[in-house]
């Protein structure tokens, strides 16, 4: 129950949610809700792990994971953008599809033994900072450091660049973008692909760094859905997504650690003496997601902020009012 260790592990496991959440932010900012994050993450985790077994190179695993998840995201893109079908049902279908394919192709992977994983290292100097150093810069996975750089970059991209402006516009008012001669369809395909690649990256971060291995559906255990929930909490903002993700990561670690000691805050630890009380702890991340959704929704109503205006609507050229 060392708070430093809990926060350090929280940042590491939170990095998984971070990539997935930012990926979904890209897709939703372009106007396409993709509920298939869970399925795409499983595809990523499975592809990363099996590619690493085959090649011995975890970086090839990461690359393959991003490509595989990006590829399967295009099924959703085709159905919702070109065929204009309902984004909710298509996203659900993508989750089933990704989960099913991962289970079939991942058969036997759980017995594969050890593989070479992504490296962990400390950053000289930065790791000497009191309190923050041990949490953020000591013996973290390279993916965690990529996450630190990635978040401000995406924030800058979305809010302060020309392509970022196009991205926001296509999610708010696609016909305006169309009238400028920019293809709404191409942009949306592209950002759904980016979202898929980032979900794949999140999956690879699980199976090659944070909790290495392939444990079929339990590899992700609903984290893809938590990511979809975090997008709403984050108000489609990468920086808020980062804090949300790390908080969730820390919560997951806290749940594990709280069951260890015999004495908790001077009392006999009920979770140690009655292990089945631990199931109430297991509920916490999911209950917390619902609470976070309530907070996000209330805030959105109060500030009159909210989802990109065109989120969920297919763009049909020439149709009025879209």
């Amino acid at each position: 129950m060392d708070p430093i260790i809990i926060l350090q592990a929280g940042v590491a496991t939170g990095t998984v949610l971070l990539f997935a959440t930012i990926g979904e932010i890209f897709a939703e900012r372009s106007g396409v809700m993709n509920l298939g994050v869970e399925g795409m993450m499983l595809m990523g985790a499975m592809t990363a792990f099996s590619t690493t077994i085959a090649t011995g190179n975890p970086w090839l695993g990461v690359l393959a994971a991003m490509l595989a998840a990006g590829l399967i995201s295009q099924v959703h893109a085709f159905i919702t953008i070109t065929l204009q079908a309902d984004q909710v049902v298509s996203g659900l279908a993508l989750t089933f599809l990704g989960t099913g394919i991962s289970l079939v192709l991942g058969e036997g992977l759980s017995k594969a033994g050890t593989v070479s994983l992504l490296p962990n290292f400390s950053i000289p100097l930065l790791s000497q900072i009191p309190f923050l150093g041990p949490i953020l810069f000591t013996k973290q996975s390279v993916m965690v450091y990529i996450g630190y750089l990635f978040t401000p970059l995406t924030w800058y991209f979305i809010n302060h660049t020309r392509p970022g402006l196009n991205l926001r516009s296509v999610g708010e008012y696609p016909s305006a973008v169309d009238s400028l001669g920019i293809s709404v369809f191409r942009l949306r395909y592209f950002y759904v692909f980016i979202g898929g690649m980032l979900a794949g990256l999140a999956g690879a971060t699980i199976s090659l760094a944070v909790s290495p291995g392939w444990f079929s559906e339990l590899t992700t255990a609903g984290q893809g859905w938590i990511a979809v929930g975090l997008v709403i909490f984050a108000q489609w903002d990468p920086v808020r997504a980062m804090f949300g993700s790390y908080a969730f990561g820390a919560l997951r670690r806290l749940i594990l650690d709280i069951q260890g000691p015999t004495i908790l805050f001077g009392f006999n630890n009920p979770f140690y003496y009655n292990p089945y009380w631990g199931f109430f702890l297991q509920m916490l991340p999911y209950a917390f997601t619902v609470i976070v959704l309530v907070i996000g929704s209330r805030e959105a109503m109060r500030k009159r902020l909210g989802a990109p205006a065109a989120l969920g609507n297919p763009y049909i050229r020439g149709e009025r009012g879209k």
Partner: protein
């Protein structure tokens, strides 16, 4: 919809033209499209199976034989179809209102818990007359399912919380909740299951009547099937023949118009989520009382909630069609248990749903092959 035509492919003087459908297609057309999508999905699934090192034709043959081959396996198929039927009904009524209840899995599990609590708490003693015991169990299952549906419904109606994620999160909470009871309070000798229910808590099976009708010997089909069929008929009457059903369909088709017509959307969201949860909960009761005969997580949290979504969609949300489609999926799940690799049934379900949604395009658009030099 304005005139919009687009050209997709050119080949040898002909091209494919896609144009919006202005007329209403004949009644058999959606059915044909769905069947076509199903066949296409099985074909695609076959390709993927052979990729994964399996033999698609033998896999499908195996599914057919192991689920419809003789009366014994047919009975087992129906046993598998029963929970799917009730869960698909639950999904269909919510989806009809464009309310994305994907928490039917959790509501099913809570229904199983509620029904089991009557036996295990115990609320009623084992000597209670069977009809009373089963009635109270069914009511308790429906009540627990309805509560589990009420939570995301209330959050959606009052606080505008996305029901997709909240109902899904409640699935995980339901599993942990049941695990708490069967690992701890109701654990039988440290195993992760409750003690077996007394006979008064078992839904009647066909095999019980083998003395009078020898054909029924060994058949596991239980009264849950009747419950499911009755529920389907009642739900059909509610949705298509009642004022409430009219409101539900109107909200689903055009929420704005429903609002102007003075329909209370907020309370309908809550009521429909509760109805949906109650149906799924009834499915959970039928499963513990008709099949498992004890509370245990693995056999009840087996993904029926998700299969139900696909079945509801394949049946175009029509409760009576759901009865037939459930049997097909019961077959897939029953036979799928022995197929290697074990993820194949799930993958095929995913492919079926994907091609179904894609095929809806053909209902809204007409795809025609015309001469390339034809006037636009």
């Amino acid at each position: 919809m304005a005139e919009s035509t687009s050209t997709h492919k050119k080949s040898a003087g002909y091209k494919i033209r896609v144009e919006p459908r202005l007329d209403v297609p004949p009644a058999w057309y959606p059915l044909l499209v769905s069947l076509g999508a199903l066949v296409f999905a099985l074909f695609l699934g076959g390709i993927l199976i052979s990729f994964a090192g399996g033999d698609p034709i033998r896999s499908y043959q195996h599914i057919a034989r192991a689920s419809f081959g003789d009366i014994g396996v047919l009975s087992d198929t129906i046993v598998k179809a029963t929970p799917i039927l009730l869960v698909a009904l639950a999904c269909s009524v919510a989806f009809r209102m464009k309310l994305w209840n994907i928490g039917a899995e959790g509501q099913f599990i809570m229904g199983a818990f509620g029904a089991s609590a009557i036996v295990l708490a115990p609320v009623l003693s084992a000597e209670t007359p069977r009809w009373l015991m089963l009635l109270v169990m069914a009511l308790a299952g429906m009540a627990m399912g309805a509560i589990w549906g009420f939570i995301p419904g209330y959050l959606k109606a009052k606080l505008n919380v996305n029901e997709i994620i909240s109902s899904l999160m409640l699935n995980y909470i339901a599993v942990a909740w049941v695990n708490f009871w069967i690992f701890g309070v109701w654990s039988e000798g440290g195993f992760q299951m409750s003690p077996k229910f007394p006979n008064s808590a078992w839904l009647p099976r066909l095999s019980e009547y083998a003395k009078e009708y020898p054909v029924f010997r060994g058949l596991t089909t239980h009264a849950g099937l009747l419950i499911g069929i009755v529920a389907a008929v009642i739900l059909w009457l509610i949705v298509y023949r009642s004022r409430w059903g009219y409101e539900i369909r109107l909200i689903g088709d055009n929420a704005q118009a429903a609002k102007y017509a003075g329909i209370n959307i907020t309370s309908n969201i809550i009521y429909v989520m509760m109805l949906s949860g109650a149906l799924a909960g009834l499915g959970g009761m039928s499963e513990v009382s008709g099949v498992v005969h004890r509370l245990q997580t693995a056999p009840i949290a087996a993904g029926y909630g998700f299969t139900g979504i696909i079945v509801a969609w394949l049946a175009k949300l029509n409760p009576l069609v759901i009865i037939v489609v459930s049997v097909l999926f019961g077959a897939l799940i029953l036979a799928g248990r022995e197929i290697q690799p074990s993820g194949i049934p799930k993958m095929i379900q995913g492919i079926i749903l994907v091609s179904l949604i894609a095929s809806d395009f053909l209902l809204r658009y007409r795809v025609r092959i015309v001469r390339a030099d034809a006037e636009e």
